[in-house]
Amino acid sequence: MTIGAISVDAVSKRFRLERNRPSSLKEAILRMGRTRDTDEFWVLQDINLDIGAGSFFGLIGHNGSGKSTLLRLMAGIHRPTLGSVEATGRLSALLELGTGFHPDLTGRENVYLNGAMLGIARRQMTASMNDIIEFSGIGDFVDEPVKIYSSGMYVRLGFAVAVNVEPDILLIDEVMAVGDEEFQRRCLKHMDMLRDNGTTIVLVSHNTDLMTECHQVGWLDHGRLLKVGAPDDVVSAYLANVDATDNTLNTRNI
């Protein structure tokens, strides 16, 4: 497979929710033999998706439609229950606040740790350290433990690392909203630059304006991929659906 390409092949993901799940060995032994009270639900069902190297892909859908889970599968955090996910190349992911940060370590140590997780040697990370600190704009806080950071600082540093490690694939899950306007603009500019350099970008966002800049957009609804195609088509279909739901609600209210 080409470096930077992502292939999602017939993927389904099931989560198990166990009610009254034994949290200690003692409980587990005491409850042995009793049937377990488990709820299963399929977060994703039969997703087929090929994202070519260097493309800018957007994912939309209502809350709980499985967007984040799909990104997590691409990032290798979860394993699909059925099917397979392949993503080749250096993959950098910003999935939620404080992505991959260890609260007790300082910002600088976390940058090294993140680098190590991407397979980048300490030497190389030292070389790009100044860029990262400058981009994040967190200044001297870089030598403080990240647990004292504000949520904005978390995201800034996380984003600074993710985009400065020359990723082949960049996964972003609606995190930029936390930063201020100025930082958001800087992020977008940087993302444009990465896109021009051929980085594959997968972006989850509720910002439909941002979606129109993508090459392709996918619409997830209740764990199913309803539509993949040109941004305008998919976004308008999605918005029409949202409006329809809205109208039903309004009718009910009357």
């Binding site: 955090i77 999935l95 404080g98 940060f101």
Partner: protein
């Protein structure tokens, strides 16, 4: 490292990182720093020597050259292996739980956290070995059999880490596993001839059931300790059947633990 695959290289970078972090955090906030790593085992040996050697008058086993016949040194040798072993089992649970939140947000091979911690523990044990060897050299109790000491350490590490792989995953699921392990290790300490000699339990005038004798003599940790004592204290070649049994224990436990961990560790990111 051009010949290694990227994923192996990534794992090595991570193992190094976790090892460094573990070593740094161990004595980070203390003025005396690494000095503690020498002081702690020395005090432990001092206390055990005082209680079992001085008060109970346990006699040090005879050696062929009589140069280093001290109950303290006999103890120290066994204690180094014991500390290495328990450090792996206890540490594994801690190492895994310290990265489990991280693992929910970013993918990395989880076993690197345990391997890194193990490497850091091995460095710690090696420092203790240096102290032991300096004393042995001063008493001119040195011989070629010393080559069996790193072997004994490797076997203890493999066995301890193999168990660590298993208990760390269980501990992530059931949070009381670490207390249970703590209790078992406390009992196990006395099932291993550290503060007493294996000859003691073989004496006919003691009311020790046969099963206990077999357990003390053939349990894996006893085997590792006996091999290390042969290497450093008695300066003799370990018995081959003991050696084979130790090797089998270590390889089998490590393999089972590794396979179990690799199978289960993906689900750690889905633990609530």
């Amino acid at each position: 490292m051009p010949s290694l695959s990227p994923s192996v290289r990534k794992s090595i970078t991570l193992i190094y990182h976790f090892a460094e972090r573990e070593s740094k955090s161990r004595y980070k906030r203390s003025v005396l720093g690494w000095f503690w790593s020498f002081l702690n085992p020395l005090v432990t040996v001092g206390v055990y020597w005082f209680v079992f050697g001085a008060i109970y008058g346990a006699a040090p086993p005879e050696t062929s050259n009589h140069n280093a016949e001290s109950f303290g040194l006999y103890l120290f040798t066994g204690l180094i292996i014991w500390t290495l072993f328990t450090g792996m089992v206890d540490g594994s649970m801690e190492w895994l739980s310290s990265v489990s939140d991280l693992r929910k947000k970013i993918y990395f091979p989880t076993e690197t956290a345990l391997l890194g911690g193990a490497a850091s523990n091995l460095v710690q044990s090696s420092l203790e070995v240096v102290v032991l060897l300096v004393i042995m050299a001063a008493l001119s109790n040195i011989g070629w059999t010393l080559v069996f000491l790193p072997v004994a350490m490797a076997l203890a590490l493999g066995f301890g880490l193999g168990l660590g792989f298993i208990v760390s995953v269980l501990n992530a699921r059931y949070r009381d596993v670490k207390y249970l392990v703590g209790i078992v290790l406390n009992v196990a300490f006395f099932a291993v001839p550290i503060v007493y000699t294996p000859e003691l339990i073989k004496r006919d005038d003691l009311p020790v059931p046969e099963i206990a004798r077999i357990l003390v003599e053939w349990n894996p940790v006893s085997l590792f300790i006996e091999i290390s004592r042969d290497a450093v204290y008695f300066l003799q070649v370990p018995l081959w059947n003991r050696f084979l049994a130790a090797l089998a224990w270590s390889v089998a436990t490590f393999s089972i633990g590794w396979v179990f961990f690799r199978r289960q560790s993906m689900s750690i990111s889905e633990e609530p």
